[in-house]
Amino acid sequence: MAVNKNTLAIKDQPKHLLGIQNLSIHEAKSILEESKTFIELNRSASKKLEVLRGKTQINLFFEPSTRTQSSFDLAGKRLGADVMTMNVANSALKKGETLMDTAMTLNAMHPDIIVIRHQDSGAPNLLSQKVNCTVINAGDGRREHPTQALLDALTIINRKGKIEGLKIAICGDILHSRVARSNIYLMNMLGAEVNVIAPKTLMPKSIERLGVKSFTNMKKGLDGCDIVMMLRLQNERMQGSFLPSKREYYEFYGLTPEKLKFANKEALIMHPGPMNRGVEIDTKLADDINVSLVKEQVELGVAVRMACLKMYCKK
């Protein structure tokens, strides 16, 4: 019988993790399930597996990153992959090489996975069209940061047992935040109710169309929330025409013990990091292990990334 080349070609196509928007609820849930299996492993004495032995993972970071990059680095190594990290912020691309050229160069080295962080929204999508390995989005522009949302979900599930039925507030610079977007999609998908809170100048147009309620007032926005996700406010936003001053922002949108009282009694705080203490969050609150999940987020981040690498890497 003749072999149907088309079917083969489709099977051969690598899977990509480009954003939560492209995930089905089933896929999201199975990543979270898979992640759970790595939590214990990461806490044990011997952390090394051989699942990705012989596979090559390239971390292609066009934007500086500490935690995401090291998290992917560790995740790949713990699964037994050969991991190479390229900080492109100061290499060939500065010399005029385009993203496509870099993609073709790397592709010629036969990687199995490329993890990409890029300042332009949509860059991972473009990359995925040009290479024949798995592409995992580690944050693109202000569009998506899927593994961050997944690790946030895992952290919440770990503490609260579920996401369905929870009320989650995302607060801060929603406009420029890929973390906010990915979390909106994922938390909605998993059955939470999502409020976004930001000054009007940092609220994207038509955000309600993504299935959230938007608030400019923290008291109203936090009302009844079980989880409060704070976003980083980048300093350069202060100098533009977005906000009058750091002081005024902190006054109205900085998370303090007083403002946290607007939320549920049992409410927990999250932050994707790095934090600007005293800008978006009170420094004591950020370190309060009774309410802050920040450290747990970082810990579970490795587990989530291991699950993603394992599940998306072509066998």
Binding site: T98, S121, G122, N125, L126, G141, R143, E144
Partner: protein, 430 residues
């Protein structure tokens, strides 16, 4: 050249309010000798060549008020020869070329070059425009008088509006005296900075900087206020939103004289078509909501919008295969202008007469050129098309040097069969 008689044609010429089955006789000099339903074969000389149009539609050659030709400086995107081929295949016989070449067309010596080069290489009527300000910087007006005398038809900064209100008021004041045509790209630079698509749900989802309709509206409001004080020949290149139309309506109702264009892109596409970062649909002004598109179609119907342009902007693949924010802006469109415009007839939103008007006599009148008409004595520039013939747009079959069409794989109805320039058959479909 021998005399020609084109018989059995459905002639639509809005300049003469003509829509009739009839014949056209072209004299030895390539001019219209006789036209209309009463023209008989016997009116032509016995040696005349007879061409049977077989009841297809015959209109004046299309006048495209906005197309970019890569010469000089961007020959790798498009040159006079390739642009001419694309234009004629689309029934376009007269083109206003944009001055944002390299170097820019902002001085007299460049005009000499472009006219000479166009005469040698182009096979359509070219009407070059020059920049409104030196280096498109919005600071110093170009030599309107000298450039006009050299043959410049209009002045435009193409991709930028003059931001400084004082400069703009001086430009309009000065232009009103010499009588030159200003074509403004109405977009506030600061408001649209970094923006690449319409500001709204799609820009939020894709994580791209948006361009609000306000960026366009505010410059239109400002310019029309100035126009009240300094009545000059003022044309808005392309509008994209219904809010702009409201401003235009109010001002036209108040008796202010100016003209308005719209790109075929904004008439045939909306922001949803951008899908998953399709950079070929990154155009300026940006594609907006379906509501805006419908309002623009309505604007042509009501006469608030005078002209449909192709906004032909060839870009090579390199420039488009980039992350969306970095990708080049613009789409080719001169060859697909007519079939896309005919969609509005086929879906019963516009009459054929309105569409043809916006493609022929309206732009000619704004430019004050003797084109876009088939009145007796005018040059026989004509486009003959099959109104219903279906076809599928494929970039590879288009004649432009660049293949960045925004309507790849689109199924359209209406195919150009023949194009005549000065009475000569210059394009015939295979």
């Amino acid at each position: 050249m021998t005399e020609k008689i084109l018989i059995n044609a459905r002639i639509i010429d809005p300049s003469q309010k003509m829509d009739t089955i009839g014949s056209v006789i072209i004299d030895k000099n390539g001019k219209i000798k006789l036209i209309g339903k009463d023209v008989k074969k016997s009116d032509a000389s016995s040696s005349a060549e007879i061409i049977d149009i077989k009841n297809n539609i015959l209109i004046p050659g299309i006048v495209d008020m906005k197309a970019f030709v890569g010469e000089p400086g961007y020959e790798y995107k498009e040159n006079f020869r390739t642009l001419s081929h694309a234009a004629l295949a689309g029934g376009v016989t007269s083109i206003v070329t944009m001055p944002n070449t390299k170097p820019l067309i902002d001085n007299v010596s460049m005009v000499d070059f472009i006219i000479r080069r166009g005469r040698d290489k182009a096979s359509v009527n070219l009407f070059p425009s020059a920049t409104l300000t030196r280096d498109i910087e919005g600071k110093q007006m170009t030599e309107f008088g000298l450039l006009s005398a050299k043959g410049i038809i209009a002045f435009t900064d193409v991709i930028k509006a003059v931001q400084n209100t004082k400069t703009m008021s001086k430009i309009m004041d000065y232009a009103s005296d010499i009588g030159v045509l200003i074509m403004q790209h109405t977009e506030d630079y600061e408001l649209s900075k970094n923006g690449c698509i319409n500001e709204g749900e799609i820009s939020t989802r894709l994580g791209l900087d948006g361009i609000s309709y306000i960026a366009e509206k505010i410059i239109i409001e400002r310019d029309l206020s100035l126009l009240n004080e300094f009545p000059c020949r003022y044309h808005i290149n392309q509008i994209s939103s219904k809010e702009s139309l409201e401003v235009i309506k109010r001002n036209k109702e108040n008796g202010l004289k100016f003209s308005v264009g719209v790109s075929i892109n904004n008439l045939s596409l909306n922001e949803n078509d951008i899908g998953d970062f399709k950079t070929f649909l990154k155009v300026s002004p940006p594609l907006r909501l379906e509501d805006d598109r419908l309002a623009l179609v309505e604007g042509i119907k009501s006469g608030l919008i005078d002209v449909i342009v192709s906004d032909h902007t060839p870009e090579d693949e390199e420039g488009k295969r980039l992350p969306f924010a970095q990708a080049a802006t613009g789409a080719i469109g001169i060859e697909t202008l007519l079939p896309l415009a005919l969609e509005m007839y086929h879906n019963e939103t516009l009459s054929l007469d309105k569409i043809i008007q916006a493609l022929t006599i309206n732009p000619a009148n704004i430019l004050r050129i003797n084109k876009g008409t088939l009145k007796k004595g005018s040059n026989a520039d004509m486009c003959i098309f099959d109104l219903d013939a279906p076809w599928v747009i494929k970039a590879d079959n288009l004649k432009s040097k660049s293949k960045n069409t925004a309507v790849e794989d689109r199924k359209v109805q209406g195919k150009v069969l023949m194009t005549f320039l000065n009475g000569e058959l210059v394009f015939k479909s295979q």
